[in-house]
Every structure is written in structure tokens, then in C-alpha cells.
């Protein structure tokens, strides 16, 4: 069997924020894209925009829904294997962020489902579509390793995602599993963490993309990375 030179990435939460910025960045690099997000209208706009420059397949849905994850697997089968999965979609929890003692447990349960169970579910669904050496990027947060008041629920979920990523990495040496702290960004999610506050001093997600591209197109092994550490390398490559 001949191998295609084409590279294909699956990105969740691709209709806005970091997911959209990454989709645009990879499209410009010639990657084929499989995109998903909950908002069908926004996702359709993204697909129409990026279809001008690369092959894009998009299907709207909730990554917490096993049927939707299966649909993504079916969509992936139509491609010549996956080189990259970016688990970017996630949930913040209540806005403003409550102290842990006040955190509604049903909402904490939703946060854990979206940030731990669903990303693992995505990887399980497409496991047979992954090319040898495929890279999995689970988007995390520095709240996974540092204790910030109010960030306990979200941070605990990201800490769980990071440990799950680390175990995936040792269980699957043929894959490259990265759990990545992108740093604070001017996104809807960050705004929801600080409702009513001015977050315009935070960088745009587009400014993080070169760091991600350096990780994606480089040969760094499995492990935890912080995009702010990768950016100098990205600038050197550029």
C-alpha cells in the first residue's frame, strides 16, 4: 500500500478561540482538517472559510455524546490516517468561578466529563485511525499544576487530563502524547472566568499558534509543554 503524503488533523472546539486559530494555522500549512464544535452555524462558517485553502470535513456535535464521537471516527476513516488529534474543546464550569466549597457538584461532574472523559473518548474512538507516530495534543492549563482560588474544579479536571495523558504516553510508545499549557488567552472561556473584567492585556490565541506549530511539526517526544517555552523555538524556525 502506498502512503499518502497528506497530513490530517482532528480538532475539537474548532469554531472559535484557540481551536479556530489552530485550524487556520494548520490549514495554511497544508493540513487536511476534521473539525468539530457544538455550534453548527459557526462551524459551517469555519468550514466554508478553510475549504478555500485545504480539505475540510466538519461535523457539529457534543464531544460528550458517544454517538458524536463515533461519527467523528467514521469521518476519520475516510482519510488516509490521522497524524494529529487536538483535544481542545473543554468546559470551564460556573461563571464566575466559585470556591470549591461552593462548587455545584453536578456542574463539577460536567466539567470532569468534558475535560477528562470526552478527550479520552475521542482518542478511543479514533485509535485505529492513528498513524504510527501520530501526535495527540491535550490542551491543559497552568491551573492543572498551580492552586489558584476559584480554579479548583477546572484545575482538578485538567490535572486529571494531564495524568491521563502521561499514562497514555507510557502505554502507547508509538504515539506522541502531549499535554500542553497554552497560557492565558483572550478567549470566551477566559472572559467567562473573569466576567466583566478587562482581559485585553491577554494575548490573542493566534499568538500561541506558532508555538503549537513548532510542537506539531517538530519531533519533540511525549510530555508536558508550555507554549510560552516553545515560542522562542518557533521564532527561530520562522
Amino acid at each position: 500500500m502506498k502512503t499518502a503524503r497528506e497530513r490530517t488533523a482532528l480538532i475539537t472546539g474548532a469554531s472559535k478561540g484557540l481551536g479556530l486559530a489552530l485550524a487556520r494555522g494548520l490549514a495554511r500549512k497544508g493540513w487536511n482538517l476534521i473539525l468539530t464544535a457544538r455550534n453548527a452555524d459557526q462551524l459551517r462558517n469555519v468550514r466554508d472559510e478553510l475549504a478555500q485553502i485545504t480539505h475540510v470535513a466538519a461535523i457539529a456535535g457534543d464531544i460528550n455524546d458517544p454517538a458524536h464521537r463515533e461519527a467523528l471516527a467514521v469521518l476519520s476513516r475516510g482519510h488516509a490516517g490521522l497524524d494529529l488529534v487536538i483535544n481542545n474543546a473543554g468546559a470551564l464550569g460556573p461563571s464566575p468561578l466559585p470556591p470549591l466549597l461552593d462548587h455545584p457538584l453536578d456542574e463539577l461532574s460536567d466539567v470532569l466529563a468534558s475535560n477528562v472523559i470526552a478527550p479520552l473518548g475521542i482518542i478511543q474512538s479514533v485509535r485505529r485511525e492513528l498513524k504510527p507516530g501520530a501526535r495527540i495534543i491535550n490542551v491543559s492549563s497552568d491551573a492543572a499544576v498551580n492552586a489558584y482560588p476559584g480554579w479548583g474544579g477546572y484545575g482538578a479536571s485538567k490535572a486529571a487530563l494531564e495524568l491521563a495523558s502521561a499514562v497514555l504516553a507510557v502505554e502507547n510508545p508509538e504515539l506522541r502524547v502531549n499535554w500542553v499549557d497554552p497560557g492565558d488567552m483572550r478567549t470566551d472561556m477566559h472572559q467567562a472566568a473573569y466576567p466583566g473584567e478587562d482581559i485585553s492585556d491577554r494575548p490573542l490565541p493566534e499568538q500561541r499558534v506558532p508555538g503549537f506549530i513548532a510542537l506539531i511539526e517538530g519531533d519533540l517526544p511525549s510530555g508536558r509543554y508550555s507554549i510560552s517555552e516553545l515560542l522562542p523555538a518557533a521564532l527561530e524556525v520562522a
Binding site: 500500500m1 502506498k2 502512503t3 467514521v74 476513516r77 475516510g78 482519510h79 488516509a80 485505529r128 485511525e129
Partner: protein, 349 residues
Amino acid sequence: MTAIAAPVDFVLPAELAAHEPPEERGLARDEVKLMVSRVAENEIFNTCFFHFPDYVSRGDVIVVNTSATINAAFNAGDVTLHLSTPLSETRWVVELRRNSRKGTAPLLDAEAGQLISLPGGASAYLLEPYQHYPRALSGVRLWVAELRLPTDALTYSNVYGAPIRYDYVPRSWPLSYYQTVFANEPGSAEMPSAGRAFTNDIVVRLTKKGVTIAPLVLHTGVSSLESGEAPYPERYRIPPGTARVVNAAREAGGRVIAVGTTVVRALETVASYDGFVNDGEGWTDLVITPERGVRAVDAILTGLHAPDASHLSMLEAFADADHLSLAYANALDEHYLWHEFGDLHLILP
């Protein structure tokens, strides 16, 4: 979809088209010729399909299409209407062909809004060109039509239709000539013909040998004999049992042998990148090319394909163009017969 370049270029002499079923040439179904390609050794053998079981081994799985052929051709005065693919109960993709003394030829100048009268007081109302069809031949061959039938389409076709045939088959044959021994579920506009040579005897011999036969369904639309266009979407279903049997055979080192291009299309549609076969059903627009390659299927039994058929490009996923050139030169030399009533080609790794 774009036109696909054929890997083998030749002109098919008219006498090498199978003009009638082999039974009318004094042969049993399983006595058609069989060409066997061993691609790794670049070897070609000429034998008879009766010996097909000799070329498979214990542990291999033969996957067959159990779709049955329907009477999909209807005489409508000076045109013939072919039912290709149902989009709903009453809405079908249809092909229009102009009747001539020799047979039929594509009719490309029909117009949306046209009403075609069909036998038995039925009619087909042309809604719009079929969107999946590329603008080949500078006209529209396939239409989306609203059918007004006195009964359901299958019953209607049983009463008023005939099997689709082309110029090289000069007379009409009953539907039974267009059914394989595996046919179980009506829905194909044209026979999945690679399975035609199988007989009860062959099936029993395969079974005794320890070879498993596993079913799937892919309902074929009208074939694309007129140009080098890519196939359009077709309906498929892979039962869970077939997925399990195929995966178990692969795991144990057995070969997966597809009977016909329809089986390759269906199995590869549900095949993961690593070759694992999933069950499932739906529509497939998958086109197998040498670039796409095959993931789950190791070998194919198929007929001989016209020089401009996209199927030849699919064969290149099993054998390189040099081997196919050799095989087709051999088939021409040895007077193999082409098309649905013709001879067969087994391509082994």
C-alpha cells in the same frame, strides 16, 4: 469527483464482450475462465473457475455481496429509463437512454420538468440533474426523478421491468440470469457480477476446505460504461458478524478475498486506517485508487474491465500497472470475455 486515468490502455475487440450468459455458450456458471494473478511473483495462470477453491486456503475469508438484482430497466416509448438508486420511497436517481435498433445510448438532452410515461400508467417526473454526477459528456445522464407508481418500486419492477442490459447483450434474459447464488436482498440496478460463477458445489468445496464465506450488502447503481467517470454514492451494510469474521481472519493471518469491486468498496468504507473492519451501514462515496490503497482486503475476484472503467484504477490498489498490463494482454490473447456474463480474474497478493 474527477475522472480517473486508467492504468491499462487497450481496445476491447467486439467479439470479446460476453454477448450472452455462459449457460447459453454450453458452460456451467462455474466453468467460465479464471485468470489468476500472483502479484508478488508477477505470475499469471489461466484456469477455469471450477478450480477456484484450489487458490484459497484454510483460514481465508471470502466476502460476498448478497444484494439481489432488480428489473431496473423500463421501456418508455423511444427512451428506456433505468432505475439506479432510491433517495426515498418515491424519489430515485434514474438514467435515461435513447432506444435504437442496436440497443440504447445515453440520452443527454432531457430537461427538468419533463414527464416520462412508464408502462402500467406510471410516470417519472424529472426534478433536477443528479448532483453527484460530474458534467461529463456535455449533458445530463443521471436525473433525480419523482416516480408515480401504482405500487411499491420492487413490485412494480417485478411486473413491468427487465434487467438492465447494454448493446453487447443483444437480447433480453430473465432476471434469474442476473442473480448470484448469494443474492438475498433486492436492490441492485445491475448484478454484482463477480459472484455469478459461484455455485452450490463451489460453496460446499470452499466450506470443506475451511474457508469462511461472509456476507455484506452493497446495492449497485447503474454502471458507468460510457465514460471514465468516478462512481457515485451507493448504499451498503456490513453486518457485525462479518466484521468479526474478517477481523478474526486477519488476526490469524488469513487473507480477506473480496468477490467484486462492490465488496472492496463496502469493506474499505468501514475499514480503519489499521485495517480493522467495523460494522455499519450508510452511503459510501469512497473511490479506491492506488493512492488510497486497500486496508482490509488482500485479494479480489473480479471480472474484466473496460479500458476506461474506474474499476481498473481500483485494481491498481491490488496490482501495479505493469502487472495489470501483463494480465490484460494475456486476457486478450487468451480470448477472455468481458462484462457481466464474462470471465473472471483473481488477483492474489
